[in-house]
Amino acid sequence: MASDYTPTNVSRRAVVLGLAAGSFVLSVPLSRLARADEEKNGKKKYGGEAMSGGLKDDPRIFLSIADDGTVTLLCNRAEMGQGVRTSWAMVVADELEADLARLTVNQAPGNETKFGNQNTDGSRSMRHHFVPLRRIGASARKMLEEAAAAEWGVAPEEVRAREHEVVHQPSGRRLGYGALAKAAGARDVPAHDALSFKTPDQFRYIGKSDVRLVDNMGITTGTAKFGIDAQIDGMLFAVVARPPVYGGKVKSFDATEAKKVPGVIKIVEIKSPDIPSGFLPLGGIAVVAENTYAAIKGRSLLKIQWNDGPNASYDSKTYRQTLETAASKPGKVVRSEGDLDSGFAAADKRVEATYYIPHLAQAPMEPPTATARVTKDGCEVWCSVQNPEAIRKDLSKRFGLPIEKVIVNCLLLGGGFGRKSKPDFASEAAILSHAMEGRPVKLTFTREDDIHHSYFNTVSVEHLEGGLDAEGKPTAWLHRTVAPTISALFGPDPKHESPTELGMGAVDVPFAIPNLLIENPEATAHTRVGWFRSVFNIPHAFAIQSFVGELAAAVGRDQKEFLLEIIGPDRKINAKDLSDTWIYGENPEKYPYDTGRLKGVINKVASEAGWGRKLAEGHGLGIAAHRSFVSYTAVVIEAAVSPEGDLTIPRVDIAIDCGAVVNPERVRSQLEGAVIQGVSLATISEISFKNGRAEQSNFDGYEVTRIDASPKEIHTHLVSPTGYDLPLGGVGEPGVPPVAPALTNAIFAATGKRIRSLPIRDQLANTV
């Protein structure tokens, strides 16, 4: 058995500024300022301040400097491919005036009381933490400078930190960070208003594109530790047979054959919760074994009778009809401007269309997996998770342990995309360790488990109607969005999209159309609906941006020109004027919907992509733009459809305005990935249900884009306002929503065929 696994890799060198980077140190008293911030009340909080745990910026919590000068930074957000560990290092090293090569990044364990919010979701990490990170670096720099000044007995104004040392300018004396760390660590953390920050021209790393990933070596040599790689002495391995239908329970089971498999140790029944089951595990029959293979083999020999429960007849084909029927009738009004009827009365032309997007599974390449050890004294978990605090809360309640006794070690995530925001798999591992009397248990979802038991992106029907006057100007806009809501996970049976979901592109439509009505008829959830990279923005943007293309075509206009026109003049729209009460949790004053910025990305992407250029036969250009996670994105796709109806994508251009860009190289990689994930869901990915069960099981049925179908070229364009004072927008998700409609608009341009139902799959056969 492999040796013990030490997740936080605590430096053995003396650590003198701040605390050791280990996971089990006592909590630090909050700096006076952090406390003062927390005590500020009576004001509505937004952004990171409003998140559980809030924002922390005490350098003594996050930074340590060893006597050889090595700086260790604790990263408090989950790394799942967005590059957060590298970007964190860039920001802190820059403000600290540290040499990035002498900085190592360790991963903080779950503990929101100590580290602030850790729920890595909603494209929030840099958006919320850029300023606190700068403060961490700048305060530590100031503490080092003050320590040097005291050492030399000179005025602090005469010293300056530069490249990992502090220099006394008049005398040229210098001291390295290692030599100063101890004295610096003994000083008070400076007040916020005593901090000075670099100006952008002084940045060494922020905004620069030549930074290598801090995890590159581990990833390319196989030594990087993902959640699934945890190795704990004496651990056992388990898989669970879960109810195939949401709400199902075990009626009876026979494990005789399963127990005969060499290596199978124990069969454990996990009680299924009543639904709605929130984030609780689904229950079922677990097989605990000496290795994963024996557990899988044992599970295949279980004979289980299920009570399928109330969702046993969930069928995607009939459910689609149910949604379509709902979309054909008026529903709950969620935004209304002007008077729709008079808008249509003034119209010369009326266009309508109905769009469909099926459920999707996140299918991160590392399936959900967790290892847990539960004893009467406490509980320790090793896993890859987006929201460690959710695990701590669940296990603390489940086992009656104080939350401090629940330790969650955060390893790298082999992708998350929203799936690993849920603690269900960690709960299962802990339940099984408990059943095994404290033996550590690694619980693995096989790919089949992952695809059957995702928290699926919603399924949706979007119905749109538009009126156009004789000049081709829109006079009326009706949008009915019908989709089961994530809130149905928590009951009591909500049937409408929540403000969060409506605020993902449905109500926050920035169009200058005088008469506009947005409705949300009822839909009932029959499976677990959850977050998938960019969430409800996917169906909303697909429908809206497709429909803009349809309106343009109806009046023979250029898509891009029409899109710019429908957005109208440059203006900053307050969220309340869009009936958007969510706006991604941000302050509406700081984050108005800026139509100038939306038009900016459209113009940028169009000019970079050569909008209007001459194309080969069977090729077409399509465009789409969308704001999500308070960033603005636009995409132009060149699609090519062969006479047989085979689709290829020669080129994609994508532009983002996410405010100031901290790590341009990672912003580009997120956009590249978003394009490919968008192409995947547009072309081939679908989860469908029959008899309550997901019909797909693995990457043969649930297809995702592979290299040969990936766009031949992806060009990324960063439209960033200058300066770093502007509030930042999200990056991880906003690239996804405009991809599908840009593609279907391009297909329309290439073939005249309008795709209204995703995935495209073989809908193009024999159309050309």
């Binding site: 799942m80 491919g81 196989g222 024996a294 992708g415 790919r447 590249e672 394009v675 290299i707």
Partner: protein, 151 residues
């Protein structure tokens, strides 16, 4: 009893010969560099070299590898200096990184056979390796860069 080598070291296994090599490597030998992604030869995350050929370890019965040489990512190069690994770092190919071990093993096998692959060669060789994060454009570029560097 099955005898084989992993990265040049002798291994022997007398358990269930149906066990896929992947689970032997990960759960019994404690070598976690090789990843589990699908268990059905559909994603390439588990790719190793078996007598030099890229092989999906998740469907390779351990009973069938007697006398063969297994190379995993841990043995591709002693210090991460294989041209494919170097190119992967220079181009920051990885996002989450989880699929990349399989991608690297597959790409290294490709370059052994086709030292200067075309785009078509790359697509054909790499299509069995899924990257859910969407790093394909950089994988293409990194393979070409590694091919150039290996000349």
């Amino acid at each position: 009893m099955t005898n084989f080598t992993v990265n040049g070291k002798p291994h022997s296994f007398d358990g269930d010969p149906d066990m896929p090599l992947l689970w032997y490597l990960r759960d019994i030998a404690g070598m976690t560099g090789t990843k589990f992604g699908c268990g059905q030869a559909l994603c390439g995350a588990c790719t190793v070299h078996l007598d030099g050929a890229a092989t999906r370890s998740c469907v390779m019965r351990i009973g069938d590898i007697d006398g063969q040489e297994v190379t995993t990512i841990e043995g591709l190069s002693p210090d991460g200096s294989h041209p494919v690994q170097v190119a992967w770092r220079e181009l920051n190919v990885a996002q989450c990184g989880y699929c990349q071990v399989g991608q690297i093993m597959q790409a290294a096998a490709l370059l052994n056979e086709v030292p200067n692959p075309s785009d078509e060669d790359i697509d054909a060789a790499m299509t069995g390796n899924i990257c859910r994060c969407g790093t394909y454009p950089r994988i293409r570029n990194a393979i070409k860069q590694a091919a150039g560097g290996a000349k």
